[in-house]
Point group: D3
């Protein structure tokens, strides 16, 4: 044991954890980890993608003639798996908030949340189809709708977001965030699960896009890489603590286009049909059908 | 079955797919998925990296004395695997365009495409060596060419791009895009496989870089994170549909440096030796040897 | 063999490698690859995350009552694995620099480096706790410290960075960079392992952030996506070669906030408490408690 | 290369292969391996077991309410996979026999073989149910039919055999043998796929059981470990070569019991209801309802 | 769908299952599979082997100095996993016997069974040590006790048996049988978990050994491959059904040796110190210290 | 911790290990496990099978035209991996025998052993070809030499044995036994690596065959399942301890056939051309060209 002095390190790490737990007033009687599992959610999301787009994102050996069999079997399995994650999220929430809820209440609630989610899948498919078309029509480089579904990170991001948002609406914050972060890590596109996004939404390239929790985005909006739809400043309460969960991000109306690198901050409105140029910085509302752009940089001979 | 009402959801999902397929006029007789497979392409790309740089990106237990054995064996296996993906891409294209091409024509074509690609590998290695040197010489933080090969996302991006571009030139759009997106997801660097890039190319840090389909980039160009070489606007035909596949992205001549966050749009030319400052927005050509920069932001006491 | 002409390609690839090796004067007697392994380091980093935050980032079936057992066993195993990677880094360095060091010296050195690192783990945990709190308090969207630990890429980036930095300080450049690039690929956040970052550091969203090798960052600094803390220009020696390893990146003092897309270049100082607005371009020092922002873009009716 | 003298070994191995191939007159133009794959067949057999007994040998997360979905989806996928293996077997056979059959003939044949096999699955399930009951009723140690299905190697062996036999009947010798050997390796029970076995068959313990190619076994036969139903001697033709494929193994009529280690050789008949004692050696027919046993060994004081 | 007529096959398979379930009167409301899982039990058994013999059967990178850490962490994790399997066994039993037991009773029972088992582990290790020594001393080919532990199937079989027997004693029939069958499949040695075996037990080679449920075996018994300790005949009740669970297998007293292929049947006693020769057939008790052997076969000139 | 009382069990297990180690006088300063690894050896054996029979036991996507490349690359990699296992075996032996040998001596010895082994591979292939032919010619059920190579456990057993025997001859007892046991577990055939077996050897079915350490088997011998070639009795020294490593198993001369279940014990000779019937028990030499058989069991009417 002397070689690394393991015992000593273990003891000091425990002390560090104890301090943290005391400070966080975290419950000591916590049994296991009882948190939704990123690995499980990754599998669930893969299956949901296959269920929504079986011949493009489903298993490689699938044939059209057995789509329904595949979907029925996978759906049932996936809903049970999802229900487990929903339960873990609910259990965590109750513990965190120090509510006392028994397991039965959680079971019933989880069942009803997952059941409602399941009924929504056909609607989700339809709205995602509008996103695919928006991408195909909005990018001159797109050769086919299949290329869009297979290769565009913006499509993956919106599939994940529309699913995450359903759980956000049910107050399953951890589950929703985990879905969003899996997508963020794959695509570089960071959409908070709280954002409300209407149909026909297209993000091109996408790396660096950030869309905040209280954003409201209309129909047929197109945005490019590195666009931020963020909060301008954070409000604090009298004790100097951040206010949470109030409307602080932009409203983007129908048919707006926002080019790469634009930064739009605060609860302002970008009116319908507006075109926001690249790299601009906007903190005030923009009227409908207007165009905002940065003046070109000055050039100077070396 | 009642618990989730699976049958109902399956039926509604099918209806949604039917609507989509009717709208897309997609072929109903499609057998299997017959699309290039992202998983297969990932493996092929890993093997091609090992073939090109055996002692750095090849298998861990490789020794210099058996490099050639490893390459010969892996190359043969990989070319067959690649030919499968090429065939899937060709089959898809013919179906999508509703051409009638029999399997034999596709076999011959796939064989000839992969064969030509194989002959190009030594040339690819040589040009990639110039990229590695450019990175080593262009970054004060680089300690060795090995660090560059092992750790720089910009190097991975250019290896993937130079391979993807070969397939783009053969009109294998799906295959090329899939390679590009694998790289994009790993590095945050989004280079359209159509871009023509000459030797000695270096992207530092790289996250958020976007290089468009019709870009032409000269020798020894260096660019930094979040640089966009994009299209300014999209042209539409009389029916209001996007024009596709015309020259719409910048030409960047030899020895240009473009700093982080610069946005360069449209079919303009950045003249050789020009230096483009960070965060600037450029939509008009820049003469050779000029320097363009943003004026520093004004400061104000709080 | 005729089908692909493998033999010919192999020979030409060898020629390309020989030219490169001659040019790089690389050692011919190199036995195996003797380089740290990205795959091994990924496993080690996962285990270190579990050791530091056992109930959040450790194995799913862990229970609080056996935290110490898990840590002790995992720690011992991980330190041996880490020592292997340290040895590979040292061996590489000696070969690259053409020093003659025997295996015994390397063994002793590796043991002492890893041993010192191990003693530091409790301190790392404590400082990482301040980062978690900074994230929780700094983001109105954060619901709990657990959400922060499980979902925030900025937290993963700072855990990886603080570990990478320990190895950077021991001159294990390759190992440190590999850790940094694993994190960069997952999060889109590129922190050079050389950067010195004090406690309470929070990066929100994070995609596109670049922090350079010689940066010095004070306490409680908060930065947003796409912020660059970079070098302004690179100095060259009389022979025109880049100077390496001199102070060339910003100093950011305590309590500074830097909003999305800001670019701060050169060895300048951002004084404590300063607030840097989004998308600004700064190449000169900023006094304490000042606020810098871009003027809003002008709007024009279409 | 000198260290192991690889090149030399490779050359000598090639020489050995060349001698073998010359001696075997094997075709030189053989492209790839074109043989059924043991790995693929293992997966197919697992799936077939799940299809036949979904709630016992199917996936763990299956529920009764979605049995049919699971079966439909898995069946379709498995039949395609099986067709591939059937094609490989047919291709091999034609090459081996130096017939010239084009790919189309093979496709049609494979399709019809697999299709017929598929129609037989419900009948196979019914006959396997009689085997399960025979095991449950025949072993005092069996607690339930589920224990039989989950734990008895004799059940696994008969499931595999009944499937292998279907392919044997279609002259797919390699495929049938590979299935039999997978079972042999798992259970120690070696049933040649040619053996004809009627319903209600039970092998207890099973290790060392050998049942030859031309055996015919009646209803409700029970045998124990290490029983051999073999050939007595092999007939040779005038050139001294073994005669193949003639009836040379026992006929075992209905309701026979054969205890452990009995050896029964040649085309003899064990009459219905006969009981064969352990370790006996039988080379002549046994009348119905008779009992054959070894006399107990003599004992002698040490 | 027409190609394979899947729907039809699915329907017929369902019919077959329905007939079976009606015949077996199996519960229709069964939710999931709720049976112990062979895959899970395999992992648990591997971990238990590592816990009992950490430096021989534990993880490869274990060192003696952290044995206790490894054991403590693995033990805790394994006991929870084991408890899950015990619960599944209990749930199944109650359903099968149509008892109504609520989940709470099962939880308490499972906890107490696993807890008792855990306390027994040190005793198991001690008795297994006597088995290792018996093997080393009983086989002239054994070079070391380590060779015995690493290479002897008889040792693996006795480790698995002694664990399975603990669960058999608690009436966990399915769990015990699954453990026994995993061992049987690996070693060819089939020991029913009910068998009572005292210390210093050694099976050499082992393939084909069968030891029945009610066997009682004394200290320091050595047996060879293909030995059967079985039942002579099965008793039936008035209705002609097999009697289950009565004493029907041999008692083997201390220091007995039984050579290869011997078959010993019925509730007889092999007296202490007896030596049973190979291939003999014994159905009556053998006095202590006696020797039983087969007379050599007669030879005849060809 | 109270739930399972882990700490207590850990302590008691340690006590049990301590008693064992004291009794075994095992070295306390043992660092890691330093034993050959069964997992590693499995991989090495798979690769050696591929090297010996590339188009039958090599990778599925291999083509004849790149056999040599595959072999050269795999061989080099495998020899290094093998050398590691040889070193572990040598290190263990020196420790076990309490010799003091430094690492350098072990390195040189391991290199020379593996190098000699490598040179023998072509000879091994040639002798294995005679075994394949013996199987094909000796079994009326064999349809082709390919069926023999792919499906016959007896072939797998002899490949493994001929390799294991090479290491046995170099006194690498553990390595040789591990190879033999991997084969035993897969095939049910237990050949001690010490057995000397000449060319054209065929074991049919094979389950339960045992061939002892000092057996000498001539050319073209054919044996069936459950044959034992064993020791008659074990000699003890004056202290009553087993004598090890003296000739104690049968010599079987050329062209002998031994049918299923025969037991042949002691240092006797089965003369050339002899035919040994099934289930016989032989403890005395058998002259050349003789036939030995069991008299058929007597039958009795029930």
């Amino acid at each position: 044991m002397t070689q690394w002095n393991i015992q000593n390190i273990v003891t000091e790490l425990q002390q560090a954890r104890n301090e943290w737990r005391t400070q966080q007033k975290s419950l000591k009687d916590f049994g296991g980890r009882e948190l939704p599992s990123k690995e499980e959610i990754k599998k669930i999301m893969n299956d949901l993608c296959g269920i929504l787009f079986p011949m493009r994102l489903g298993p490689h050996d699938l044939r059209q003639q057995s789509e329904n069999f595949y979907i029925a079997h996978t759906l049932e399995k996936t809903l049970y798996a999802l229900r487990e994650q929903v339960k873990l999220n609910l259990t965590y929430d109750y513990k965190y908030k120090k509510h006392n809820e028994n397991a039965e209440v959680i079971d019933v609630l989880a069942q009803s949340i997952v059941s409602e989610f399941a009924q929504k899948l056909p609607e989700l498919r339809r709205i995602l189809d509008t996103d695919v078309i928006a991408a195909y029509e909005g990018d001159p480089a797109a050769r086919s709708v299949d290329e869009v579904l297979l290769c565009y990170p913006g499509i993956l991001a919106i599939i994940y977001h529309r699913i995450a948002h359903e759980f956000y609406k049910k107050d399953l914050s951890l589950l929703a965030r985990l879905i969003a972060e899996i997508s963020h890590s794959k695509t570089g596109i960071d959409i908070h699960p709280g954002a409300q996004i209407d149909q026909g939404f297209f993000i091109d390239h996408g790396t660096g896009v950030v869309i905040g929790e209280t954003c409201i985005i209309g129909k047929n909006v197109r945005i490019y890489q590195a666009v931020t739809l963020g909060a301008k400043r954070f409000e604090v309460d009298d004790a100097g603590r951040l206010q949470k969960e109030y409307a602080r991000h932009p409203i983007v109306e129908d048919n707006v286009v926002i080019y790469a690198g634009a930064t739009i901050l605060g609860r302002i409105t970008i009116g319908q049909g507006a075109v926001i140029g690249g790299n601009v910085w906007i903190t005030q509302s923009v009227p409908a059908n207007s165009a905002v752009s940065q003046s070109s940089a000055t050039k100077s001979q070396v």
